[in-house]
Amino acid sequence: MKGKIIEIKSDLNTAIKNIIKTLVQKKLFDAVFVPVRIPSRESFAYLLIKDKEILESITPLPPTMPVQGARALKDLTRLGKLNLRILCIMRPCEIRAAVELAKLRQITLQNLTFFSFDCPGVFPTAEYIKSPEKYDQNIIEKIKAWQEDGLRPNCSICVNFSHYNTPADLHIGFYRNHLLIYPVSKNSQKILDILSYRAEDDLTEWENSINTLLKKKKENRSRKFSLLSNQTKGIENLEEFFTGCINCHNCMRVCPICYCRQCFFESPEQSHHEAEEYLARAKEKGGIRFPPERMVFHLGRMNHMALSCVGCGSCEDGCPMDVPVGQIFSFIGNEVQKMFDYLPGKNLEEPIPLLTFKEDELHEYEDTREKK
């Protein structure tokens, strides 16, 4: 594996920023789509930046992710291609969500270039805003040490945090106070040329370090998943799992893949019944919990997400009640995606399995169930 290795002289954000500035100055891009610290200094937002001055204030590697990048990008490009060449700097799960949304015609990828980077994970937003300074410092430590504790739970079990499976044009790696540039797409050659870099340095050491980390994370993940599997067996356990849920639907609102204009579970037909209907149900079950349709919402959303969930954990980050919703969605998503041999957002050309359904496709699966 070959790429370009650069020594980091100042800090990571500045090193990446300098690369971006050069590319904009040399007119390879008209604008940059990247997180910027918001003036209150407690959070970050994606900004579409044309002004070179504002480029100074970007934070390509923010310690938290209040808005999933794909969700932000959707608002920008939903209605068609832009006449600007835009450079987007995003985390692997954000890029995969963007590609998934492109398959669903909610993002137009033309004229967009993606830079991904080795993602150390993010801190829960609610924690971050309590003491930003502490976490700003901590994220640097995290990158150096690659530790999982204190991160978003989904991040600590994320196995697609590096260039593997990330459909970016160019990937940026970190290794021992160095920044590595790894060209992924054909497109990236032009970028290297403009930067006068040649992809000639040996990246093996970095790759080995990523693989070691990946192994550790995979172990974490299967441990977590088997725990979740036990915790959610049967409808009663599942009810228990979601027991803290106040049915606020925040998880749906922040999820990049929940792309609907109006969520089905908020449609009048689905969410409001006549009192008589509720009474009838209460009579049958001995009582019903209000607000109602809580489990229907979660199971329904799970059904809608299973094939496309990128496991970013934004849903859980946005949950006011600390329901481990991101973890279970990631777990179920993984199971379903395995069945179809599909990894959401990995490859634009690969259609979502729902769209390629063939009548005889599931026989294999049916048979194994029958034999049991």
């Binding site: 015609r105 449609s267 769209l355």
Partner: protein, 547 residues
């Protein structure tokens, strides 16, 4: 509360003996949602229909549930009665207690319980039905037939009638394969004579307009309202408005160039059956020994082409007719000769001294055939000429029309019929039929039968002077909810949905929509919705069923 009438049909002894209808009545009677339960011995009979209509009027029913046979059988019958009785026919739900209970569940007690659940479900559902309106659109009764082989010609003759224009477009000369044939098995009549007669007929038919050496440039629209652009022989453009299309573009004979063991194009005395009958037999003096090899290409494409065995025997006879002393060998793997004339045909061929040799494997060399015989013995035979009976494969333009008209191909590349047994000449796209060699390998008889079938289907679907009735149980897209993700478009097998790019939403073509519900099931937000299977209807039905 609306007045719901429940009708139980005994279906003679069919239902009455297997389901305890007294028990059903007793249980359902307690349900406040039903105004009255009626019972009849045979509701679909004339007497039964009269009873139904009178009861509706007498009791002032507003909605009807009928527990009887499969809706496939009599839903339309009862809907007509309702319409005549002044009710909207969609305020109706049929419960299948015959196929799904009486005939399925031998235990009478269980069958009865099942019937009760199904009936309850229907009763719970019916109040959520909305009256649907049967729409009608203007349409053209005219027909476009593409391809003027014998199938196309025959289809044209059978669709032609007063008040209906038939257009037949052929890219070459009229006649297709038959132009290349000497005679036709099994009767051995002249192919040319038959063809000439038919060509004369269509050319002089007042209702048929023939376009030879013409090209289909574009086809837009849908059932009842297609527009085709054609480039004619003299390079002029003609625009046709038609209501339906029949594809009769035939197939092709396989060219065995890629199968080296058959020596085609390697040895100058090896021909395909097609070439032999078309020209070789006329040009050359026939040599002493000729071998005809069957099943060429069969293994490669994985099906039997149906015509080659009989056709090989036909060639043997043509050879014998022309040159009595030529020795003819038939090398076959399997003999496929179904049909009432063919045992006799085979016998007669054999009697003329034609020798049949069964092979397991074959290799064609210079003036010889090396083969492994049925009993695993390696043998060799020297011959002067070899004819390869090659199979039939899809024509070159099949894919082009599949894309143009949004119809699928089968695994072998022929046009795919809607249902191999039940709808062999229709496609999944309403208004587009297929017939002849483009549907699959077949002989003339089959091709002509298909021509008749596709003509019949077309004639009955669009009648001159009548407007087209459009399916009322379609889906609809809520503009204000749809996000234009295109999921529905890609799961609709009937090509009824498209994305309106300017609004970035999906739109449904109600003429093409068959109400399958795929889109409604796939759309996450519920923007795509089925008019007769709304979430409420399904929910209420299931709730009562599972209670």
């Amino acid at each position: 509360m609306t007045k719901v009438g429940l009708f139980l049909c005994e279906c003679g002894p069919n239902i009455a003996e297997a389901v305890d209808l007294d028990k059903v009545t007793e249980v359902i009677k307690g349900d406040k949602k039903v105004a009255l339960i009626e019972r009849h011995r045979l509701l679909c009979s004339e007497d039964g229909k009269k009873f139904l209509a009178e009861s509706i009027k007498k009791n002032g029913f507003e909605r009807i549930v009928i527990a009887a046979c499969s809706p496939k059988q009599h839903e339309n019958t009862f809907m007509e009665v309702m319409t005549r009785a002044g009710l909207n026919p969609y305020l109706f739900q049929m419960v299948n207690i015959r196929e799904q209970c009486a005939w399925m569940t031998p235990d009478k007690e269980l069958a009865t319980q099942k019937a009760i659940r199904l009936i309850r479900a229907a009763i719970n559902r019916i109040n959520y039905h909305t009256p649907l309106k049967q729409k009608e659109i203007e349409c053209s009764p005219d027909v476009l037939i593409i391809g003027a082989g014998i199938t196309g010609i025959e289809t044209a003759l059978r669709t032609a009638q007063k008040n209906r224009n038939i257009y037949i477009v052929e890219k070459n000369e009229l006649g297709g394969v038959l132009n290349r044939l000497q005679s036709l098995y099994p009767g051995m009549q002249s192919a040319r004579e038959l063809l000439q007669k038919k060509i004369k007929e269509i050319k002089s038919h007042p209702e048929i307009k023939v376009f030879q050496k013409s090209k289909i440039k574009e086809i837009l629209g849908f059932f009842g309202n297609f527009i085709a652009r054609i480039e004619t022989e003299d390079k002029k453009e003609v625009k046709l408005n038609i209501g339906s299309i029949i594809l009769t573009i035939g197939g092709e004979t396989f060219v065995p160039a890629e199968l080296p063991n058959f020596g085609y194009k390697k040895f100058e005395n090896v021909f395909t059956a097609d070439e032999f009958e078309n020209s070789v037999i006329n040009k050359e003096n026939l040599p002493q020994t000729i071998a005809i090899v069957h099943c060429v290409g069969r293994e490669k494409f994985g099906y039997c082409s149906k015509i080659c065995c009989a056709n090989s025997m036909k060639l043997a006879r043509l050879i014998k007719e022309k040159s009595k002393n030529t020795k003819v060998f038939q090398f076959y793997k399997e003999l496929c000769l179904p049909g009432k004339e063919y045992d006799q045909f085979y016998k007669e061929t054999k009697e003329q001294g034609v020798e049949f040799i069964r092979y397991k494997n074959i290799e064609i060399g210079d003036h010889k055939i090396d083969y492994i015989s049925e009993d695993e013995i390696k043998q060799s035979l020297s011959v002067d000429m070899i004819i390869l009976s090659t199979g039939l494969v899809p024509g070159k333009d099949t894919q082009y029309f599949a894309n143009l008209l949004n119809i699928p191909l089968d695994d072998y590349g022929f046009f795919k019929e809607e249902h191999i047994k039940l709808a062999p000449v229709s496609t999944i796209t309403e208004g587009i039929s297929i017939a002849g060699g483009c549907q699959g390998p077949q002989d003339l008889n089959d091709a002509v039968i298909q021509a008749g079938a596709s003509a019949g289907r077309t004639l009955s679907s669009l009648i001159p002077g009548r407007r087209l009735q459009v399916e009322a149980k379609t889906c609809e897209i809520a503009d204000s909810i749809c996000v234009g993700c295109g999921v529905c478009v890609r799961v609709c097998t009937y090509g009824a949905l498209t994305i309106d790019e300017s609004k970035h939403i999906s739109v449904v073509n109600e003429v093409l929509c068959r109400g399958c519900g795929n889109c409604a099931a796939a759309c996450p937000s519920g923007a795509a919705r089925h008019r007769h299977f709304t979430n409420q209807e399904i929910y209420q039905e299931e709730r009562a069923m599972l209670k």
